[in-house]
């Protein structure tokens, strides 16, 4: 456990050191220190997972907090490894990505500082066992990521996205605090252990607490309908920050949900259905809106919502398995969900990195202006395509393995279930299949339009070379992981079954554990056959020694086609979007041609998030209407504000005395 504190110390030392060294060295120092801490954290965390014995340390913090205990149990260990390793890769990528900003002379001191704070606070969030200290590090995490988002705060949309993020995060904290306060009142303690002991047998309280926590952590994770901050914050933030946020930070929300599930024990049926339904809606909603997006980072942000949904489906199936006492279903659900956390963090970072590389070279995130980048940037294109295949859940890549486990859990739940569980499972299966195919539509669009075909604008045509090696290396590592986990899932099944079996009774789960591992071994063999066979066909084609002539693309005899005649992203998605018209709100901006000699005219159409248009915006309007009534007490006079504070304190004291 000492090594854990040493790692945290390393992160903070790196943060402080990065402040004093000169600009060009800052990120290098941060990368080095985050690498060291990742290695240091990997050892105890891996040991915890392999031996299944949690590590624990109590630290005396302050009179208020008392002894704060840090525990690395298998669940924490899993998250610690994911967070430290993925953040390090993000840091490595930042070395290349931030170069143009450094060349412009922008100050990155605070950026580096907050990056290190973010990593350290995330690691503490997933290990601390004290509710109050948890909230403190949770807040540090939210704030440091807020400052990272507004790195380019001089742009208006970046700042407003950042503020939106901040508001959502504080809404999230309100619900988490409410859950903790309920537990605190009931147990008169702040430690998670006491929380768990106090709610045992109290079904109403544990359901209520879990519901509050699910809403609170769900806002962080980005479940629909609390997802609205995601598609704004990700495009605003620098790429490595969006990658770390999307790949890792939103998973702390999932961690919170899992931890609260661990505290509140076997869930009720109602709440389990709720989690599953919300997760299914998130997955469908996320991918549906991803298809409509042309801003690549917004598209990826919506895909994070989709994948959080898939993780949630896994957790929901796990919870239903617990509620209905199907240990097999529960274990498969949790294993699939937790493995998908790892998988999503890998391919989402990969996709963000590749998209960021394209942005760095072309200075546009609008995929309608890209195209043909695959020739100038072959490595980035390859990485993006690998990431795309993986995120669509296609074999032999990692996304398939977790989705396969979730499917298996759902199918195994079908016999011996009651009618409501049966129908829920069947529709969840259909939804997961639908999500998978829509993801294929979305990512063939993204990779095809961005990297293939002919350049659609001058910005794309002028790209001459690929990004620097320091940016390729993290992508290559991630792409290799996508492939490796997909090919050899049996080694990773053990890695995620340890955290998953926290939730499921150990003994009944053991045979299931073995069958999951052997299932993964089978998959591994099948994919090996597939690879060997594919390699043989490739070889055969080479051995046939056919001449390859080069010509323009076939255009029915017309060979003067230009790049504006290509299919665009909008036209690619159009048949699908027009089929599902009622689910989208289209906003058109038209300037019609006027006069005899019309000068400028344009037509632009965008698709607005219906949740934002019909729920969030009316709420804000309504909110403004009520709050504007209070404007008159806002004088701008500081003395007056101090008076308000004083009056409030006096009232609070009177209230406390009165209530005893």
């Amino acid at each position: 456990m000492e090594i854990y504190f040493l790692a945290l110390g390393t992160l903070l030392a790196g943060a402080l050191l990065s402040v004093i060294v000169k600009d060009s060295l800052k990120l290098k120092v941060c990368s080095l220190f985050s690498f060291l801490s990742a290695v240091m954290l990997f050892l105890p965390a891996a040991a915890v997972i392999l031996t299944d014995t949690p590590l624990r340390a109590d630290v005396y913090m302050s009179p208020l907090l008392g002894n704060v205990s840090f525990i690395i149990d298998p669940l924490s260990a899993f998250f610690v490894i994911v967070i430290s390793f993925m953040s390090f890769l993000g840091m490595l990528y930042a070395n290349g990505y931030m170069k143009p900003y450094l060349d412009k002379g922008m100050n990155t001191a605070s950026h580096c500082l907050f990056l290190m704070f973010l990593i350290a606070s995330m690691i503490m969030v997933v290990t601390v066992q004290n509710a109050l200290f948890f909230l403190i590090v949770w807040e540090i995490m939210s704030l440091s990521s807020f400052f990272l988002v507004i790195f380019e705060g001089e742009k208006k949309e970046v700042l407003s996205a950042g503020i939106k993020y901040l508001v959502y995060m504080h809404l999230s904290v309100i619900f988490i605090i409410a859950a903790f306060v309920l537990l605190n009142i009931h147990s008169t303690s702040l430690t998670f252990d006491d929380f768990a002991a106090s709610v045992q047998g109290n079904a109403f309280l544990s359901n209520l607490v879990f519901f509050l926590a699910f809403v609170g952590f769900g806002i962080k994770a980005g479940f629909v309908p609390f997802h609205n901050w995601l598609p704004d914050a990700h495009p605003a933030a620098p790429t490595h920050v969006s990658a770390v946020m999307s790949g890792v930070m939103i998973k702390t929300g999932i961690y919170g949900i899992l931890r609260m599930l661990y505290i509140t024990g076997t869930p009720g049926k109602g709440i389990s259905y709720l989690v599953l339904v919300i997760a299914v809606i998130s997955a469908l909603y996320g991918v549906l809106y991803a298809i409509t997006q042309h801003d690549i980072k917004r598209l990826l942000a919506y895909h994070s919502i989709e994948n959080i949904g898939i993780i949630g489906i896994g957790i929901g199936i796990g919870m239903l398995g617990l509620a209905y006492h199907h240990p097999i279903v529960a274990l498969l659900g949790f294993t699939g969900g937790i493995l998908h956390i790892l998988n999503h963090s890998i391919f989402k970072e990969l996709l963000f990195f590749a998209a960021g590389s394209a942005y760095m070279k072309t200075k546009t995130r609008n995929i309608e202006l890209l195209g043909g980048l695959g020739k100038a940037m072959p490595y980035t294109a390859l990485m993006f395509i690998i990431g795309s295949v993986a995120i669509c859940g296609l074999p032999p890549f990692n996304g398939f393995i977790s989705e396969f486990m979730i499917y298996a859990g759902m199918f195994l739940g079908i016999p011996h279930s009651d009618i409501s569980l049966f129908l829920t499972l069947v529709f969840a299966i259909a939804a997961l299949a639908l999500v998978g195919t829509m993801a294929i539509l979305c990512f063939t669009k993204a990779s095809g339009i961005m990297f293939l075909g002919e350049p659609r604008s001058a910005a794309a045509a002028e790209v001459k070379d690929d990004v620097s090696r320091i940016m390729i290396i993290p992508m290559a590592i991630l792409a290799f992981l996508c492939f490796f986990i997909g090919m050899f899932p049996q080694y990773f099944a053990g890695f995620v079954i340890a955290p998953a079996s926290l939730f499921v009774n150990g003994e009944s789960a053991m045979p299931v554990f073995r069958s999951i591992v052997s299932m993964c071994e089978n998959l591994s063999w099948f994919f090996l056959i597939f690879l060997v066979f594919t390699a043989m066909v490739f070889l055969l084609r080479i051995l046939l020694k056919k001449k390859i002539a080069s010509h323009t693309t076939w255009g029915c005899g017309y060979d003067k086609a230009n790049n504006h005649m290509q299919y665009t992203a909008s036209s690619y998605a159009s048949p699908f979007i027009s089929t599902l018209k009622p689910l989208f709100k289209r906003v058109s901006h038209i300037k019609k041609p006027k006069d005899l000699f019309p000068k400028d005219a344009y037509y632009e159409q965008e698709i607005e998030d219906i949740e934002e248009a019909y729920i969030v915006k009316p709420l804000i309007k309504w909110d403004e209407k009520i709050l504007s009534k209070f404007e008159r007490i806002q004088s701008g006079n500081i003395q007056q504000y101090i008076l308000y504070g004083l009056v409030f304190l006096v009232l609070a004291i009177i209230g406390m005395i009165w209530l005893g």
């Binding site: 299966i429 063939t444 066909v537 084609r541 076939w554 290509q566 299919y567 048949p575």
Partner: protein, 304 residues
């Protein structure tokens, strides 16, 4: 033994099926038609040809035909063929089947976009869109079959009849309709798509491969033929009773495969391709039939 026979069937029958479809169409048109071996000769001729590749394309375009072909062949390992036996028979084989076909499809879609041709982009867009309707219906069908039989592989098809009681025939009929629409959609047959039309604007699958030639085109046509054969095998697995002896079952299997080819050919001769907007409605019928199956299965298990 049966596995060897299945591999042999897998190699030859797909081309023969295409030949039978062509022969049927020729019969209805009052022509003599080409030999049913012609698709095989066409394939062999393509394998001898050199290729022309567009300057716009990248490695994706060259890799896609191979990946598409190998993914279909790999998917074939999991499908029950003659005598109802899959070469690899494991639980949840249909998930691997469906997703590995998705893998091949992913590459054929981006290869179409790789050419920079708006024809091919259009075909890819339609193909991607129809897939989104097909897959959920297929999974609902599989889930219903699993609920009835308690089996999680394609073997569940065999057990529908004995477990479904009075609704057995109805469920199987609906399942056949579902899979047949899936076949028409996935294999681009009339009325979803017209593989022999001369107008690129109205095509789906065929327009995606406009730029492929030589060996690549050969692999694509072979892959497409195998895919159609696989979906026909699924239909055969639904209707062939489990009680038949091995050799009878193989004979019945082959008869059904060629009967389906005749039906496909007859459908193509008797109707025109739907307008693109109607194609969606047609493919949605598949969701409807799978929902009906689900309703019947739910009623059978939980009702009364």
């Amino acid at each position: 033994m049966i596995t060897l026979l299945n591999i042999l069937i897998l190699l030859i029958v797909p081309f023969l099926m295409i030949g039978v479809i062509k022969k049927t169409k020729a019969f209805w048109a009052g022509r003599k038609g080409v030999s049913i071996w012609q698709p095989l000769w066409d394939f062999l001729r393509l394998m001898k040809k050199d290729a022309v590749v567009s300057k716009t394309t990248t490695w994706v375009f060259r890799a896609a035909p191979v990946l598409g072909f190998t993914s279909v062949v790999f998917a074939a390992l999991f499908v029950p063929l003659a005598a109802g036996k899959a070469i690899i028979d494991i639980p949840f084989a249909f998930i691997i089947f469906s997703y590995i076909l998705g893998f091949g499809k992913f590459f054929s879609l981006i290869a179409a976009l790789d050419t920079g041709s708006s024809f091919e982009g259009m075909g890819a867009s339609r193909e991607a869109c129809f897939t989104t309707i097909v897959e959920p219906a297929f999974f609902i069908l599989m889930a219903s079959a699993a609920a009835l039989s308690g089996s999680f592989s394609f073997a569940s098809f065999k057990m529908i009849l004995e477990n479904a009681g009075p609704y057995g025939i109805l469920i199987i009929a609906l399942a056949v309709v579902t899979l047949f629409i899936m076949l028409l959609t996935e294999c681009s047959r009339v009325p979803v798509d017209d593989p022999t039309t001369h107008l690129e604007l109205t095509m789906i699958h065929e327009v995606m491969i406009l730029d492929n030639s030589g060996v690549d085109l050969g692999l694509i046509t072979w892959g497409a033929a195998i895919k159609m054969f696989l979906l026909c095998s699924l239909i055969a697995a639904l209707v062939i009773p489990a009680s038949l002896g091995a050799w009878v079952s193989i004979a019945v299997f082959l008869v059904i495969i060629f009967l389906l080819a005749v039906i496909i050919g007859t459908v193509e001769s008797s109707m025109a391709r739907f307008r693109m907007s109607h194609v969606f409605e047609f493919v949605f019928v598949m969701s409807l039939t799978s929902m009906l199956i689900l309703a019947l299965v739910t009623y059978r298990i939980y009702g009364g």
